[in-house]
């Protein structure tokens, strides 16, 4: 029952698979040999790449401008403070995206000819905002909306940056939700409606809880992208990590501040990525356990 739905969403993985990174590393003697080979090939790879870079003609200059430890130390605290703005933009956008995208997905799944305009609207929305580069939406809204000088319209660049990210990412996330809704087998709806539940109750209590659970990993994936794209708000002049790094860099002719900003982003996105992978793996294990039971 569930597996039929999963297959339609393309979410199911049939055969048991080990982590892709660890590849064929098994256990026992074979496994230890595998680990040794993996370790050796990694070391060789790093040494080769390292030697190639450090022996390149421009290396000396690169090391001076990108990898200056004292510059890193002096610029880091301010960039870290600016990075808090990235986190703020991320968190606020996230909440609105989750809600708005769900609304879009639900609109798009409404049945019957009466709801055609709403469905069409949701489709056009998703097409449009997935088609326009995020940086363009940010520039158009961030520079355009405050310039209207309508009283009551906020002029904060951060505000319009958040609005832009919400508009763009909701288009993507609504598609993720929709895949989840489509993956719930129609028999679930039939069962709920046959008990006398209304369409709304069926959606709320039966369809969406199953749909959302299935799409948590792809949702997190989009959030990783969002966290990175908060840097785009800096193009409006908001002093977030990237903008702060640019300022520092312009003042000292050093690129090391960019490296500091990159470290901060990576410190957030990598754990998020590993967490997503862990969730996906756990999900797969659970589904396999269920499959064996049925």
């Amino acid at each position: 029952m569930a597996s039929e739905g999963d297959r339609r969403a393309g979410l199911e993985v049939d055969e048991p698979r080990r982590s892709r990174i660890l590849g064929a590393l098994g256990s026992g003697v074979e496994g230890r040999r595998g680990v040794a080979i993996a370790l050796l090939s990694t070391v060789v790879f790093l040494v080769v790449v390292g030697v190639a870079i450090t022996h390149s003609p421009g290396w000396h200059e690169i090391r001076r401008t990108f990898f200056d430890w004292s510059e890193f130390k002096s610029s880091f605290p301010e960039i870290a403070r600016a990075f808090l703005l990235n986190c703020k933009i991320f968190s606020i956008s996230e909440c609105f995206i989750l809600a708005f995208a769900l609304l879009l997905a639900v609109l798009r799944s409404l049945p019957g000819p009466v709801f055609f305009p709403l469905r069409a609207l949701a489709v056009v929305y998703a097409d449009f905002f997935r088609g326009v580069p995020t940086i363009l939406v940010i520039a158009l809204l961030g520079f355009g909306a405050p310039a209207l000088q309508v009283s009551g319209v906020p002029t904060s660049t951060t505000f319009w940056g958040i609005v832009s990210l919400v508009l763009v990412y909701s288009a993507y996330v609504s598609e993720v939700y929709r895949a989840g809704i489509d993956s719930v087998h129609p028999s679930q709806e039939a069962a709920a409606r046959s008990l006398g539940l209304t369409r709304g109750q069926t959606l709320r209590k039966v369809i969406l809880p199953q749909a959302v659970r299935r799409v948590i990993p792809p949702l997190l994936n989009d959030f990783i992208g969002l966290q990175k794209d908060t840097a785009l708000v800096g193009t409006l002049g908001a002093i977030e990590a990237f903008q702060q790094a640019s300022i520092d860099s312009a003042a000292t002719f050093h690129y090391t501040p960019y490296l500091a900003a990159a470290v901060l982003f990576v410190a957030i996105t990598i754990p998020l990525a590993r967490f997503t992978d862990w969730l996906i793996a756990r999900d797969r294990r659970r589904r396999q356990a269920q499959g064996m039971h049925a």
């Binding site: 028999s187 069962a191 409606r193 046959s194 008990l195 006398g196 539940l197 209304t198 209590k205 199953q210």
Partner: protein
Amino acid sequence: MSSTAALEIEGLRKSFGKNLVLDGIDLSVGEHEVTCLIGASGSGKSTLLRCVNLLEPVDAGRIVVAGEEITRRGVDVNRVRRRIGIVFQAFNLFPHMSVLENVTLAPRLALRKGRGETEEQARALLGRFGLSDKVEAYPDHLSGGQQQRVAIVRALAMQPRLMLLDEVTSALDPELVAEVLDVIGELAAGGMTMVIATHEMGFARDIATRVCFLDDGVILEQGSPEQMFGSPREPRTQQFLQRIVSAHRL
């Protein structure tokens, strides 16, 4: 027939695209009757049951449940469905809910009953059908037979006047069929009005007050189980039952 019939179907037609599935069904089911629908796969048994539950809109004809025409325009489908329980071949339990939540969901939402009342009722029903120790379990951790019994209890929790059972044992391993049929037998003994689509001919012979043979979207022949299984009139009925017998299913 009389106006007190639990279910009255007149001239029911239904097609999916160009595929005519029900071609004029007339059927009357009295209170406390158990009507078994038999016939080959694709003869329209499931579609007929889904039409009675309004899961499929009908193309033509009337369905009257306890004196009320449910196929008329503007009927409140949710209200109609609350009085008609249906159990599906594939159980269709809600996998994200425990057994107790599965059973209490509809009474709480559709009948607006309190949690305490519905849970008490659900526990009593589950206990009656030997599922007391599965109250907190999730569907994935139940056998097919247990799942189907929960699905029956879920439908019963709405206190329906009419139960529709759509090949409820067809997806079960053979050794799990009996426990589900026992439950249905108990319901019949309790006077529940039921319409049952089934391939279990032995069961139909034991439990039915009437047997209808569906063939190509019409009820070709109907009668008492003795008559239908003992001396069917229509050649097609004879042929169908002959095949069942030679497959050792009767």
